[in-house]
């Protein structure tokens, strides 16, 4: 299988002119389609920064990121937004759903941005929410859902745009053990059955145990990269 993500000499330095902080330091990473990869490491090791760079949410200070061969490091902000919409799904630690929309509307919203027809949006939102076990919560707003349920809506939203891969930044950090187990099962199932590529940062050993590849970062550098 080909590489879906490649980074070459990727670096991100904060405060380069005062007290430089090398959040990501000369990272070379290649991720193949269908991988279930965990980025691990202590706090401040650069996991979130690396995910932001891979996801086109931030610009590197050195090196490059290629998504399916397309260099995104020199794209304009507007082009990057469009690129993210079409290619990348995001799951955030704090769920980050739109609080005034229901679960199905949250899922539909990404498809709306992609100008998908109303019928298709509604149909796919139901399908995705059913897939993550929230068929009976379609019309619930985030405030009416538990943390685990909200994160499952976030996963459904990330899948809605039919992305090439999903980036998840500490997706289980705010979840209890049951919700974590549920979410991991859903992510693993999507990875196995739909060949969806997942890259997630985590501290959680249960998540690390589920990953098929574990990349460990320390001080912005990859110190180990193991495949199970």
């Amino acid at each position: 299988m080909g590489n879906i993500i490649e980074s070459h000499h990727l670096s991100k330095t904060y405060n380069p002119d005062t007290i430089p902080v090398h959040a990501v330091n000369n990272v070379d990473l290649a991720v193949e389609e269908g991988e279930f990869t965990a980025l691990v490491g202590p706090s401040g090791s650069g996991k979130t920064t690396l995910l932001n760079l891979i996801g086109g949410l931030d610009y590197p200070t050195g090196g490059e990121v290629k998504i399916e061969g397309v260099d995104i490091t020199n794209m304009s902000e507007n082009k990057l937004i469009d690129f993210r919409l079409k290619n990348i799904g995001f799951v955030f630690q704090a769920y980050n759903l739109i609080p005034v929309l229901t679960a199905s509307e949250n899922v539909e919203f990404v498809m709306l941005l992609q100008k998908t027809s109303k019928n298709e949006r509604e149909k796919r939102a139901v399908e995705l929410l059913t897939e993550v076990g929230l068929k009976d919560k379609l019309n619930k707003r985030p405030s009416e859902l538990s943390g685990g349920q909200q994160q499952r809506v976030a996963v459904a939203r990330a899948l809605a745009s039919k992305p090439r891969f999903i980036l998840a930044d500490e997706p289980t950090a705010n979840l209890d053990s049951v919700s974590t187990e549920n979410l991991l099962e859903i992510m693993a199932k999507l990875n196995k059955e739909d060949n969806m590529t997942f890259i997630f940062s985590t501290h959680d050993q249960r998540v690390i145990d589920k990953a098929r590849r574990v990349v460990t970062l320390v001080d912005g550098k990859i110190v180990s990269d193991t495949k199970k």
């Binding site: 955030f92 980050n96 941005l113 745009s161």
Partner: protein
């Protein structure tokens, strides 16, 4: 869905939004109420001037307007009056003699404008007969009766049935005088007018002036005031040797005041909306800064900048425009009620009557003012959203997502 999100976002902080909506409603009410009040006052003032002094159209000898010479009469005035009375657009006509003179009582004297009128005709043209508060409007049969304003009577220290002397220039240029008995005292809305205007019978004044057949002024009241310009244009062609003027030509300052009311309304509403704009900007800015993480997420998942901008503008427009129906409804109800019962300003009657304003003002709310007010408010909302929207567009998704 952007509309849905924008509308629901407004109600995330109900109290804050209600404060803005109330401020818009109260601001619009204040602006429109002030305008309705002034529109009513000016309409009444115009009505009063037309009914007591100007009428809709006046005829003069062109030379009379400049110097008000006794000899500058409309020579065939009586026949013109007869013809005008048969015009289908004309409601009433009255011929007048007008001269400047001095009125004297035993205690003092005062300068006045003396109007010689035919009481029957004048009743239909002017409201002065209805303003008589003591005595009557030439109800007796005696000669040399005079009707004076209350203010003048007070100044001359005279009462009903007292005698006063009018002194003025006759047709021959000699100074002449006549003794008149006060038959009535009137009080119009305009105390300045009351102090300088007296009314005598046409024939009594003509006899002393020495004019025969001629008159200085023909006042015409139309059946429909809106037709004034059209009818006047026809009469100007019909009587090219005479000066035919509409009330707007006779009192250009009043016509101007009436004309600039709309502009004044836009200026007043504009000032109110400008003040409101700062409140709306503040509210929208708070809403945007509070939702930094949300905007970061929206941009991260692919919401482009024009859409983010549009969403904030929509929120601002919806928030602001939600106050419009309440403002218009409140204004309509208030003005509707006051238009029937009037606003009693008796405590300011002295000052108001000096300028010819009534003690009771009946506000007038023009329906045509609603659409411009709605558009101005919407424009204010759009302008108010620009700064908060620019602020939101500057958020970096990677940083904004992690804001608490």
């Amino acid at each position: 869905m952007l509309f849905k999100i924008a509308w629901r976002n407004i109600w995330r902080n109900r109290t804050r939004s209600l404060v803005v909506i109330s401020a818009v409603a109260v601001g619009l009410f204040a602006g429109m109420f002030i305008m309705a009040f002034f529109q009513g006052a000016i309409n009444q003032e115009i009505e009063s001037m037309v009914e007591t002094q100007l009428s809709h159209i006046q005829f003069h000898n062109p030379a009379f307007i400049d110097d008000k010479e006794v000899n500058d009469t409309i020579a065939n005035g009586q026949s013109i009056v007869k013809r005008l009375k048969q015009d289908r657009d004309v409601k009433a006509v009255s011929g007048r003699l007008i001269t400047a003179g001095m009125v004297s009582s035993s205690s003092t004297a005062s300068g006045v404008e003396i109007h010689g009128v035919n009481p029957e005709d004048e009743r239909s043209v002017s409201d002065i007969s209805k303003d008589v508060i003591e005595g009557g409007y030439f109800t007796g049969l005696k000669k040399n009766e005079i009707v004076v304003g209350e203010k003048l009577a007070d100044k001359l220290s005279v009462k009903l049935h007292n005698k006063i002397v009018l002194t003025f220039q006759s047709k021959t240029g000699d100074l002449t005088a006549g003794s008149f008995r006060i038959a009535g005292i009137f009080r119009s809305r305009n105390s300045s007018f009351d102090q300088v205007t007296v009314f005598t019978r046409f024939d009594d004044l003509a006899a002393i002036l020495g004019t025969t057949g001629g008159m200085h002024e023909i006042a015409v009241v139309l059946k429909e005031g809106q037709k004034t310009n059209a009818v006047a244009a026809g009469l100007k062609k019909q009587y090219p040797s005479l000066l035919v003027q509409t009330w707007t030509e006779l009192s250009p300052q009043m016509a101007l005041l009436s004309g600039i009311m709309d502009q004044m309304m836009y200026i007043i509403i504009g000032i109110i909306l400008l003040a409101l704009m700062f409140g709306i900007i503040n509210t929208m800015l708070m809403a945007v800064l509070e939702r930094q993480r949300e905007f970061g997420m929206l941009m991260a998942i692919g919401m482009n900048k024009p859409r983010v901008f549009a969403m904030i503008v929509l929120e601002s427009v919806m928030l602001t425009c939600a106050g419009i129906p309440a403002g218009i409804l409140f204004t309509s109800l208030t003005v509707g009620s006051l238009a029937k019962h009037g606003i009693d300003l008796s405590s300011f009657s002295k000052a108001l009557s000096q300028y010819g304003f009534s003690n009771i003002i009946y506000p007038v709310l023009k329906q045509s003012m609603f659409m411009p007010v709605i558009l101005m408010t919407a424009l204010t909302a759009i302008l108010s959203a620009i700064y908060p929207a620019i602020k939101a567009l500057r958020f970096k998704p990677a940083e904004a997502i992690h804001k608490i």
